[in-house]
């Protein structure tokens, strides 16, 4: 039994960051930064409950989308004249544990097949499972470097190419990265940092009432998880519905030239590297207006999501002190 997402006390920023990604997966994931013991992992695991369905090619091990790109298996099938059949699957949160090995990430030779039949077969790894799903890495800053390299490689291309042990295989690997980290324990490489669409911050609650509420809900959940779950069922469902609606309306949200101009103004003011920040800020703002049921992106929407998209991109060099940059960001946001 997982602690219900809606029952997490406060931490609205973290919740919103996750929800925006469910609404528009192309935002590209979320990095949750925060102190120890602030329900980071709990929130991500709880997210699984709210996720919508995706359409995939029937029977595909890699969740290939109907419109492609396709894996080697599917391609072979179509070339032989096979038909595309649809199948609905629930979106999942796939976990990448810290102790994972390289071959489990990218996939490897199927040992059983090799020994029993002497045949070479590809056995999918975590990247295959994660295609079109959430890929969750707890303590992402503690992940081994060569695993990070593998992730970066496929995250950039959206494709996992395997050439090892005499196997050659290609399959799509487009996943939404969700990572948690406690910055006290070590830094994350800027390159990987940039891969996360948005970054949210969690802090422990300072207000007494909220803290008491945390304890109350926690002990209620521990005593009888099932009853607790039922109690929150209605809220869970209404949130799930809200997300589905927002997803449907996403494409209908109007993006005016003024909006574009504002976004660019913020990013150019801050002199950021690359264009990812612009794109993601816009996407996040759009998802946010869809979520709040609006038809057009407003100034408030941009103001709400801008820190999400920019917070982790302000720092470009290993040792830069970002306090002045952060101030600048706030000043710019006030002005627009």
């Amino acid at each position: 039994m997982i602690f219900p997402f809606t029952a997490i006390v406060d931490q609205e920023e973290m919740k919103l960051g996750l929800i925006l990604n469910v609404i528009d997966p192309s935002i590209g994931g979320v990095l949750i930064m925060g102190e120890k013991g602030t329900a980071k992992s709990t929130a991500v695991r709880a997210l699984a409950d709210l996720l919508p369905d995706i359409e995939t090619v029937k029977g595909c091990r890699f969740n290939c989308a109907i419109e492609g790109p396709f894996c080697s298996d599917c391609l072979e099938k179509f070339q032989d004249g096979g038909l595309i059949e649809k199948e609905k699957k629930k979106m999942r949160v796939v976990e990448l544990p810290l102790g994972v090995t390289e071959d489990r990430v990218v996939g490897a030779l199927d040992i059983e097949m090799a020994i029993k039949k002497g045949e070479r077969h590809f056995e999918p790894g975590i990247l295959a499972d994660a295609n079109r799903n959430f890929l969750y890495i707890d303590e992402v800053n503690l992940l081994e470097d060569h695993i990070v390299d593998l992730l970066l490689d496929s995250a950039a291309m959206g494709i996992n190419t395997v050439e090892r042990e005499g196997i050659s295989f290609v399959h799509p690997a487009r996943f939404i990265l969700v990572g948690t980290m406690n910055p006290e324990e070590g830094e994350l490489r800027p390159q990987l940092l940039d891969r996360f669409g948005v970054c949210v911050q969690v802090n422990s609650l300072r207000e007494k009432d909220l803290r008491v509420e945390v304890l109350k809900r926690r002990s209620e959940f521990d005593d009888d998880p099932e009853r607790f779950y039922q109690k929150w069922e209605i809220e869970q469902q209404s949130l799930a519905k809200k997300i589905v609606n927002a997803k449907r309306n996403l494409k209908n949200v109007i993006i005016s030239d003024e909006t574009l101009f504002k976004v660019v103004e913020i990013t150019s003011e801050l002199d950021l590297d690359g264009h990812r920040a612009d794109i993601i800020m816009l996407k996040a703002a759009r998802a946010y207006s869809a979520y709040s049921g609006k038809e057009e992106i407003t100034r408030e929407d941009i103001k709400t999501v801008a820190p999400f998209a920019l917070r982790h991109r302000l720092k470009r060099l290993p040792f830069e002190d970002i306090s002045t940059e952060t101030e600048k960001l706030h000043a710019t946001l006030e002005r627009i």
Partner: protein
Amino acid sequence: MQHLKEYKINFSDFVSQENAKLALVLNAIEPACGGVLITGKKGTGKSTILKAFMDIARFLHLPFVEVPMNVTEEALLGGIDIEETLKQGRRIYQRGLLCRANEGFLVIEDINIFPNDILSLIFEVQSRGENIIEREGIALKEPAKFVILATMNPEEADFSPHFLDRFGMCVIMDEIKEKEKREEIIKLNLQDSKKDDDTGIIKIILRARDFIKKIKVPDEIKEYITELTLKEAILGHRADVFLMYASKAYAVYVEDKEVRREHVDEVAPLVLIHRKRLIENPPTEEQKEDKERERNSEERENKEENEKKNTLSSQFPEQGNSQGRPSSEKEEVFPVGESFNIKRILLKRDRILREAFGKRTKTKIKGRGGRFVRSLIQKRDDIAISATVRAAAPFQSLRGRKDHLIIKEQDLRYKGKERKMRHTVIFLVDGSGSMGVGQRMIATKGAILSLLVDCYQKRDKVAMILFRRDRAEIILPPTSSHELAMKRLNEIPTGGRTPLSAGFLETYKLIKRLALKEPQNRFLIVILTDGKANCSISDKNPYEEVRDLCSILKGYPLIDFIVVDTEKKDKFMRMDLAKKIAEWLGAKYFQIEDLESENLVNIVNLNRCFTGLLNKNSMHNNT
């Protein structure tokens, strides 16, 4: 005849240490209490009490699994037994330690000298309550809910506050001062104990475990708990949750029907002691004395060592106190100078198999991870499947293959793996007054910054030791946070005399401590000095001291040295003392300018990359 018994002390007989006993019992009653960390000096009975507690756990039919120091990830998490698998032709799965501890206790002795990566794995599994295995082509989940009982001796090594926070309770076990009690302990160790056995406490625990399900924590108590944690300014919400369960467990332990404030007060010290922010409690008098004593004894040792070799006459100019010009006594903090791209410094590879991580020097890898470079016949951890199958292929018809491949012992090939590893880089920085002359410190700080960037790129751990005035101190304990290193670098003051030997001694002590924790760690010591030692720690000539310490350090395995000479090389005042030191250490010798990479492409990149940073620095300095 009297004889020493081996860990046969009954839990209830254990003299004093009520806190430790209480913490263990509470965890046996309510696993949600979150485990116990027992800290204390050597010989205070940390392990003994756990061993005594083991009997109780056994009686309650709770698993009690010890994690040995040399545990591998495979053993911890479980994995596939490849050799069996190849023989039998189907997957054979080995259960890990963590799964065996399910519903029981996991015991980690000397947790602070465990490798951090192993600990992160353990805590990750614990927080999830199940073990997810994703390796070598298997993916499965198994429940793994356990309570961690750990011991540590804080003298041995530091322990990350992040791991500390995962423990529900922490108990400090100190040696007992009262004479009668000490006598009692000795007796206990000599006699066969025939006093009350543990049935009493076991009964209490059994009843409490039953009863705890029936009681609830009233809201008023929850409010009281948050008041307490807020008052102590404790980060995160773990403390609240742990405290709630601890109070509940305590209430049933004292046979109360409801949880009351007194119960919370009673257990609060156990739960909160390790979460208080350290900044707020300065070291107590006692600790200070301890430190003082420690330092004195070490100095004494050193003197003795030095006295043995007190025959050498110095070939260096006597510098002594005359160097201490008034100007150098003045304390100044210089800004960080310009940084540059560091020349590639190649260090020797060694043949040790290790679990490595980082990007500096290539090493052979044991265990999982690493790049598979070649298949070997020598036995290693991982079997190279394709090479094994290839080796077996020619003999299949000879061996009479029917359905599945026949693989024999001699076909097995293993994966030889390689990866780059990080080093622990210790910067030994001269902060004496002579470094301030002609603004040498600015250039030196620039050089350190450049080296730090290099270390960051190679994922090295860094530490910094500053020596000035009459002593050396670790201004940056080993860390992966290069951010913090940068901060400390900015703060380095200059002024006073040059206790070079104290610097070397501190380095030696640090390395010894670190090597205990990670014996295969490679060290790179970067010494930035002009070499003008003029302050000794014993009554010997400072240069003799330095030379002796150099020879000790040089004899230590797995250390590389770099000496960066910060002396201004003009025609009149040139002593090249740092060069001499480099010779003694067998170190690579550079002057600051030589460190710079000559590669044009690099320089172009660097300029682009660092202009921003430099602007910021200069801005920072102006303010």
